[in-house]
């Protein structure tokens, strides 16, 4: 019998859910507020050594000679590894597009500042760092290419010579007859945009303790893994091991946002473990390592956008040209973040034809990594600017312009030109609500008055889709080998009816253990305290991918409810046997199994579990006596990539409209956000407090993206923002209070109708802030097309516009 996973909260076996859909306290928090949660750097092991990594100070150079003898002579130093060891014992990173991976320690040349070249294992991190200073390396500098446009030209220095070019991928995708749409358009608008590098920056950097097992020829790594199973597969490929010989033990970690990184450091520490005969090697990435060469950097993009528009303000075609600077190689999965926009290429709009001219280019900069949103936020930023440009040119209010182009609510499920399917939505309802909440008309009137006073006040209205619940098929488009993304859970009930749920991902911050607890408690009519969640390592956990691509909330809901259903079916058989009836006559409701309407034929779940475990001789012969089940959930209906790159990749499509009111100080270029209102629709809200938290945090990161955060390289490939003095994370002063509202259009496809919402607002916030900035700049006739809109950039635009006006 097929496993039954409810598509709606109403279908849960409870007359009134007490936890799901409610703002429940998180089960994760007591350990965190008391400092007891076991982050990886809290762990020590017998015989453990500490690793420090020597990194290249030069962006591009041949390694002529490495002399580690003085380092080895330092008391406390146990081993040193270099590219020689990497070549002997490992393979180039498998996470890159084919042929673009490099060794964790290069033997031949360095390709970016911060690239590891050697590493030390010593009795303390202090001594390990002392030893790094004793390693002598002779470099022969090579010409540096730090600009991707220059990198595409013939004669450019080559980052990876064997490839013969710096272009990792160049492809034009055509979906529908874009040329015809543009030819038929009443208006065509074009603009260039620049999105500068930024990145995840969780407050905990990456860390691990790596062990090579010289007898079993396997490895065990404890660490801050976002996706333990995925890290395990990568290590198996890098070290040429069967995947069953790789065991990853994930620890709770201090945020990831896709950019936890850590692959190179893990591999380097594994080389050191092998060289020391299997001693545990701890590597805790420090903040400067993270900033220069961790999973820190993403989305370094140069865009050209064109849209075709009718006189009525309907957008009929979209052309996007992207040069994506991936850095020295694609090892950090940076390449696939240019593919994800295919999942929502045309946003929430009915745009019927689109073209994507994509170039992924290598340069002598840190390899690009994933970051929350995985690629669409810059795309959305540019698309939303185009919507505003068109609206203004046609004299249509920017909110109204979006309304005209929204996919109507009766058109779902809706397949967009780039192939993905949106599950459901009511975009107009979201817009109406946010307009009302923000008192939009009033804002426009206030803006009018401010403009009359010469003040630069702007209102941004931006709308975007958050693709949720990713599938690897989305990334086959750019040649990155994929795997499936199963999510499993084992639900196990003990003899007293208490529940243990075993999962394969560690606490990361999104409150997923709380969600699991809510689900099981409501399913079996228990208290939250009756359910506990345990993380297992990759050798013992059910198949799992973990958080990523706004998927885990939905996926783990499917897994847990699937496992609960399997137990329910088993228990129904047990109860039917005891009550001498057929299983289909037995129903579970509010934690009690029984025959509906027959009050004497009722058995609490704990009693059923107790009977199964304590008196299995009473069970019908064909019933497995364990009140336990595992279910592995994957999204149904995903399709392989077709010849134009089209695929049904993401299962859900959440939607949001944000409205921002801000003022620019024309004398300083400083931006003050005065009002921030948003309404979103991510389907059923399983824990509204958690959803809100994800949204608020994602708005903050979006504001960082729009105004503050940027990795700056000079033309020699030197990173100029190598500390938190210069890479600017938003503080409490930078993030405004939010007014938030919700519309709930459940997904017809997902467990309980929930949609992926973890990545959330970063899809929309940078677009909304930039729309507001450009709205403020309208009276000056200038535009800000570069992110972040740092004060010196805005001042320069304003200053130039004023000079041009005064010289006219």
């Amino acid at each position: 019998m097929a496993v039954k996973i409810p598509n709606s909260i109403d279908e849960l076996p409870t007359s009134s859910p007490r936890f799901i859909g409610h703002r429940v306290k998180r089960v994760e928090d007591t350990g965190l507020v008391t400092g007891r949660t076991e982050f990886i750097d809290n762990v020590s092991m017998t015989g453990m050594l500490h690793c420090a990594i020597l990194r290249s100070p030069i962006a591009h150079a041949k390694i002529e000679k490495i002399d580690v003898s003085a380092a080895l002579d330092l008391p406390g130093v146990v081993a040193v590894v270099t590219g020689e060891d990497a070549a002997k014992w490992s393979h180039p990173a498998a996470s890159s597009p084919d042929g673009w991976g490099t060794y964790c320690l290069p033997a031949d040349k360095v390709r970016f500042v911060g690239e590891p070249v050697a590493a030390v294992a010593a009795t303390s991190r202090y001594i390990a760092e002392d030893a790094l200073e004793l390693i002598e390396i002779e470099y022969e500098p090579l010409d540096v290419v730090s600009d991707p446009v220059a990198a595409m030209e013939d004669g450019s220095p080559l980052v990876i010579e064997e490839r013969g070019s710096n272009v990792m991928l160049q492809r034009v995708f055509n979906w529908g007859d874009t040329d015809a749409a543009f030819a038929a358009a009443d208006h065509v608008f074009s603009e260039k945009f620049r999105w500068n590098r930024l990145g995840a920056n969780p407050i905990e950097t990456y860390g691990c303790i790596s062990e090579w097992d010289p007898t079993e020829l396997g490895i065990t790594v404890r660490g801050a893994f976002q996706s333990p199973s995925h890290m395990a597969l990568g290590r198996a490929m890098t070290f040429g091991l069967p995947s069953n010989k790789v065991r990853m033990i994930a620890h709770p970690h201090g945020g990831s946002f896709g950019g936890k990184g850590g692959v190179r450091g893990t591999d380097v520490s594994l080389l050191l473990s092998r060289k020391t005969g299997g001693r545990p090697i701890k590597w805790i990435e420090d903040r400067m390592e993270y900033l220069a060469a961790g999973g820190s950097q993403a989305w370094d993009r140069r865009y050209e956008f064109s849209i075709a528009v009718t006189n009525d303000g309907i957008v009929t075609g979209l052309k996007v040209k992207l040069v994506d600077d991936i850095g020295a190689n694609g090892e950090g999965f940076g390449a696939i973040s240019a593919a994800k926009p295919l999942a929502a290429f045309t946003g929430p709009y009915t745009i019927g034809a689109a073209q994507y001219d994509l170039s992924l280019v290598a340069t002598n900069k840190a390899p690009a990594s994933p970051y929350r949103g995985m690629g669409p936020p810059p795309h959305n930023f540019a698309l939303e600017q185009m919507m505003d440009i068109a609206a203004r040119s046609l004299g249509i209010d920017t909110a109204e312009f979006r309304r005209r182009n929204f996919i109507p609510k009766d058109a779902f499920p809706y397949i967009i030109p780039s192939g993905n399917e949106y599950d459901s939505g009511d975009y107009e309802a979201v817009l109406d609500k946010v307009l009302a909440l923000s008192e939009y008309e009033k804002l426009r009137e206030e803006q009018k008055l401010a403009r009359e006073q010469g003040r630069l006040v702007g209102i941004g209205v931006a709308s975007a889709i958050e693709p949720g619940v990713f599938d690897w098929n989305a990334y086959a488009v750019v040649g990155v080998q994929g795997t499936g993304v199963p999510e499993g859970a084992t639900v196990s009930i003990d003899i007293l009816g208490k529940v243990m749920v075993r999962v394969g991902f560690a606490l990361e911050g999104q409150g997923q253990y709380t969600l699991v607890t809510q689900l099981v408690a409501d399913y079996f009519g228990l208290e939250m305290e009756d359910v506990s969640v345990t993380m297992l390592d990759t050798a013992s956990a059910p198949p799992a991918f973990g958080p990523g691509g706004s998927r885990l909330g939905v996926a783990i809901t499917g897994a847990v409810l699937g496992a609960c259903d399997r137990i329910r079916v088993k228990m129904c058989k047990v109860v039917a046997g005891l009550m001498q009836t057929e299983p289909e006559n037995i129903q579970l409701m509010d934690g009690v199994f029984g025959i509906p309407g027959v009050s004497e034929a009722q058995m609490p779940m704990a009693q059923v579990a107790g009977t199964m475990l304590g008196a299995s001789h009473l069970l019908p012969p064909d019933v497995d006596p364990r009140p336990e089940a595992t279910h592995v959930w994957t999204a149904a209906g995903r399709t392989p990539v077709d010849e134009e790159g089209r695929t049904k990749s993401y299962l859900t499509a959440a939607h949001a409209v944000h409205i921002v009111l801000l003022e620019i100080d024309p004398d300083t270029g400083m931006v003050e956000i005065q009002k921030y209102v948003l309404v979103d629709d991510c389907g059923t809200r399983l824990n509204p407090a958690t959803v809100e938290g994800q949204t608020q945090g994602s708005v903050a990161q979006g504001i960082g993206a729009a105004l503050l955060e940027e990795y700056v390289y000079d033309e020699d490939g030197q990173l100029l923002t190598s500390t938190y003095m210069d890479y600017l994370l938003p503080t409490i002063h930078d993030v405004p209070a939010l007014v938030m509202g919700e519309v709930v259009t459940p997904s017809p496809f997902s467990p309980l109708g929930a949609k992926g919402c973890g990545e959330g607002a970063i899809h929309t916030t940078p677009a909304a802030v930039m729309c507001a900035i450009n709205d403020a700049l309208v009276p000056l006739g200038t535009r800000a097309n570069e992110v972040p809109a740092a004060p010196n950039r805005l001042w320069k635009l304003i200053h130039t516009a004023r000079e041009n006006t005064s010289s006219d």
Binding site: L728, T731, N792, W795
Partner: protein, 287 residues
């Protein structure tokens, strides 16, 4: 990010401090509050053979009024300055400038002497010292000497302190009557080092600018006096128009304006004018 090895000394008298400095022959560093030095040590950008920790020099932690000046011991924390009623009432500019410095957690440990000796060109205290004609009391092998603020800050991160000397006190004149003050700055985020800051002190008599002192920070290697602005003000009737005209001269005479990832030299020179104008207007209101 672990510091390199060094010896550690924790003297309790000035004589010991000076003797230790001499003993280490210029290779030792003085540790005051550590809020600038410790990051440099963690990054291994600083490599002293020894740290001479002034943390036990409790007699360098004081704020008192003496002879028309506020005398502040070098080891007085910014927190103490921020909370000092004496500073609030007698030298409110010093109080106000303190609130711009980093965050409370840093001000709890960062010291006045440490900031002055660090001489970061974007820091508030050196600019305030120059604006107020503060006096720096220095102890060395030959005893005590004092240096005017205008002579103390030599260049980027460099002061008049010799290798064997230690700053012991900063004497800040109290604000004269009918004198207004202002400190203005633009930083990327609240608490960051200023991209540009301006300090203005304006003495008004009968509506006319009797004295003026304008100091800019974050623009060059040291706090810079905007003398052309000052000259344009003296003897003129205070008005917004005057401040605007005078402020236009703020970028004159700025040498080697800093350009970095946050602000170009051109932007900084512009901000110098904007902040000078704002500082003058606010100072005039307070005068």
């Amino acid at each position: 990010m672990k510091p390199p090895p060094f010896e550690y000394e924790a003297p309790t008298t000035i004589q010991e401090v000076v003797a230790l400095l001499q003993q280490h022959d210029g290779e030792a560093k003085i540790l005051a509050g550590g809020q600038s030095l410790m990051p440099l040590l963690n990054m291994r950008f600083a490599r002293p053979t020894a740290l001479i920790d002034l943390g036990r020099m409790t007699d360098l932690d004081y704020i008192r009024e003496e002879n028309g000046a506020i005398a502040i011991g070098a080891m007085t924390t910014k927190r103490s300055v921020e909370r000092s009623d004496l500073v609030k009432s007698r030298q409110p500019l010093l109080h106000a400038s303190t609130t711009w410095i980093a965050h409370p957690q840093i001000r709890n440990r960062g010291t006045v002497g440490g900031s002055m000796a660090q001489a970061d060109p974007a820091a508030e205290y050196p600019a305030v010292a120059v604006a107020l004609d503060a006096e720096f009391v220095i102890a060395g092998p030959d005893g005590q000497r004092s240096v005017a603020a205008s002579d103390f800050f030599i260049t980027y991160l460099t002061t008049a302190l010799k290798e064997n000397e230690v700053l012991t006190e900063i004497r800040v004149p109290v604000l004269p009557e009918r004198t207004g003050w202002s400190i203005q700055e633009v930083a990327r985020r609240h608490g960051d080092f200023a991209m540009v800051g301006a300090v203005a002190i304006l003495g008004l008599a009968g509506g006319s600018c009797e004295s003026a002192r304008v100091v800019l920070f974050g623009v060059g290697a040291t706090p810079q006096r905007a003398t052309s602005v000052e000259q344009a003000l003296i003897g003129q009737a205070a008005s917004e128009a005057l401040f605007a005209t005078a402020a236009e001269k703020a970028a004159e005479g700025l040498e080697d304006t800093i350009s970095d990832v946050h602000a170009s030299a051109e932007y900084r020179r512009h901000l110098a004018q904007v902040l000078t104008r704002r500082a003058l207007a606010e100072a005039a209101e307070r005068a």
